[in-house]
């Protein structure tokens, strides 16, 4: 019997693996490593939230929930989104509880894209965006946010990239990896482009609660945008619940019903105990969230100041828990910088180009780690830069 050379589908074989994996492998076996490469909170999920999951198990809540998630949870999400984002969604028809925001993005893209449809993907961005567009049969069109604007995409750049096939704009603000957040005015300009060309905005708002200086505005709250926004969020970052894999997506009923079809066939429903935990988080988690936010803010300031002091130019990011210093001064590219820093000082940072070519010349330093670790990391990076 002759076996095929490969059983993999072409579009999967051609999919580029994430550039981050390499650094993960490189640290294997190394000791005394300080990692600023982690894209998740250093906090453990607040105890009351963990306890709610334990209690749900004790009470025997071990079966499926409704496909869209526990109605109680969807109602709590609706209230939360209304209270803090000032947008009203119908919990019965416009909200889906997903396996992390990642699944939300996946089903959103699969629900809206026909083969060949284009999605404007603003880079630098989370590693999954462009691949998920491809997997959904669409064509990602990269729009590179410019460093001159602290990586805040400009409406004219989007305007320039729009074609007849453009279906949606994918945006994450506050952004991973840059930490930058669009101002309300900048969002309104992006919204104008969307309206003019009848585009959807796929808005990844997972870092909405981790904003340190200004008020947060949701894309869905921009005048006239609720009907063309798919609002993706979740509990991973603000509730320190990454491992629970729980997110949600709010969108107009037609889109939600489309996404729900994919969700019910592919996933059935999100984990039941995680849903009970999230419900507790929404009801009683604001003060924990505020504590964490306060702590991130202090650390952000510390890292930004320290990096600038050692000559690595770093704007002050408005949100998330990443700083994105420019390392061009060292004469190295992002990857060499990160590789040498790991081997010479045992500090992990992620090269900016892992998040898109426009991140070249930068590295992502997460400050979701303790002050003690950050202090030591800054000392080591300083030593590294001084001895080049």
């Amino acid at each position: 019997m002759v076996l095929k050379t490969s059983y993999l589908a072409n579009h999967v074989r051609n999919l580029k693996p994430s550039g981050i994996r390499k650094f993960f492998d490189a640290t294997a076996g190394m000791t005394d490593v300080i990692s600023l490469g982690v894209g998740e909170p250093d906090f453990v999920t607040p105890w009351n939230v963990r306890e709610a999951a334990i209690l749900s198990l004790e009470d025997g809540h071990t079966s499926y929930t409704a496909n869209a998630g526990l109605l109680e949870l969807r109602e709590a999400i609706a209230k939360y989104v209304d209270d803090y984002y000032c947008v009203a969604y119908d919990p019965e028809h416009e909200i889906t509880v997903t396996v992390g925001a990642s699944e939300a993005i996946d089903i959103a893209l699969r629900a809206i894209l026909d083969p060949g449809d284009e999605v404007l993907v603003v880079e630098p961005c989370f590693v999954s965006y462009a691949p998920l567009v491809t997997l959904a049969g669409g064509t990602p069109v990269i729009v590179a946010a410019e460093k001159e604007n602290d990586f805040k995409v400009q409406a004219r750049q989007l305007e320039d990239a729009v074609t007849e096939r453009t279906k949606a704009i994918m945006i994450c603000s506050p952004n991973n990896p840059t930490g930058s957040m669009l101002s309300k005015q900048e969002m309104e300009q992006v919204a104008r482009v969307a309206k003019k060309h009848d585009l959807l905005i796929l808005s990844d708002e997972i870092y909405a609660e981790l904003v340190y200086d200004d008020l947060y505005t949701s894309f869905a709250a921009i005048d006239g945008m609720r009907e063309r926004t798919i609002l993706v969020s979740g509990f991973s970052k603000d509730m320190a619940m990454t491992g629970w894999r729980l997110g949600f997506v709010c969108a107009p009923a037609e889109i939600t019903q489309g996404m729900l079809k994919i969700h019910q066939y592919a996933i059935m429903c999100a984990s039941t105990m995680a849903q009970y935990a999230a419900l507790e988080g929404l009801r009683n988690g604001r003060s924990d969230m505020a504590e964490m936010r306060k702590s991130y803010r202090l650390r952000r300031n510390f890292v930004v100041e320290s990096l600038n002091e050692m000559g690595l130019a770093c704007y002050k990011p408005e949100g998330a828990f990443y700083t994105f210093p420019n390392i061009e001064l060292t004469g190295m590219d992002s990857e060499s910088f990160a590789t040498r820093l790991l081997h010479e000082e045992r500090v992990v940072v992620v090269p900016g180009n892992a998040f898109g070519d426009s991140g070249e010349g930068y590295v992502r330093c997460s400050y979701a780690t303790s002050m003690g670790q950050l202090r030591e990391a800054m000392k080591r990076i300083h030593h590294f830069v001084d001895n080049l």
Partner: protein, 166 residues
């Protein structure tokens, strides 16, 4: 005393970690080192920051001896000075680590440290219960400290995250 939001923030940060340098505090709060110096000095001068302490887990040290007792003390308050006079007579003893006025079934909660149970017993019978105004004492010995001042002793605080994630 009225403090600004920033001064309160600095006090809160130092309460959690007194070893932060003024330079680090300046970076964390976006203030100049001069401003931090002034704020910290004000907090110290006004006794808002009373003292800088370390939390030491003495049980980790081989051969360490020592016991802690929490004593509920009932007191007859005195005219004009209430409980203050008795409290003062109690807290002046160096064995006494803390004294709180309580609501509920007793009046003063007194924390005492000694080398041995005998030490504490001696203090209670000879010194504490003989103070004028003290009606009764109930002594509870601490067997194990799990959490103190918001800090869990022996907590598993290893970072369980994978080293690099997107």
């Amino acid at each position: 005393m009225k403090l600004t939001a920033t001064e309160i923030e600095i006090a809160g940060i130092l309460e959690k970690d007194a070893r932060l340098t003024n330079d680090e505090l300046a970076k964390m709060t976006d203030l100049s080192v001069d401003q931090i110096n002034q704020i910290v000095k004000k907090l110290e001068d006004q006794k808002v920051i009373v003292r800088y302490v370390s939390l030491v887990d003495w049980t980790k040290i081989d051969g360490h001896q020592g016991v802690t007792a929490m004593i509920d003390v009932k007191v007859t308050p005195k005219r004009d000075v209430g409980f203050n006079e008795v409290a003062k007579r109690i807290y002046r003893h160096k064995e006494v680590k803390s004294v709180y006025l309580m609501s509920g079934t007793y009046d003063l909660s007194v924390q005492v440290e000694g080398q041995s149970v005998n030490d504490v017993a001696h203090f209670v019978s000879q010194k504490l219960s003989t103070i004028e105004g003290v009606i009764s004492t109930t002594t509870h010995f601490v067997l194990k400290k799990f959490k103190h001042d918001g800090t869990i002793y022996d907590s598993d605080d290893r970072d369980k995250r994978i080293v690099v994630s997107p």
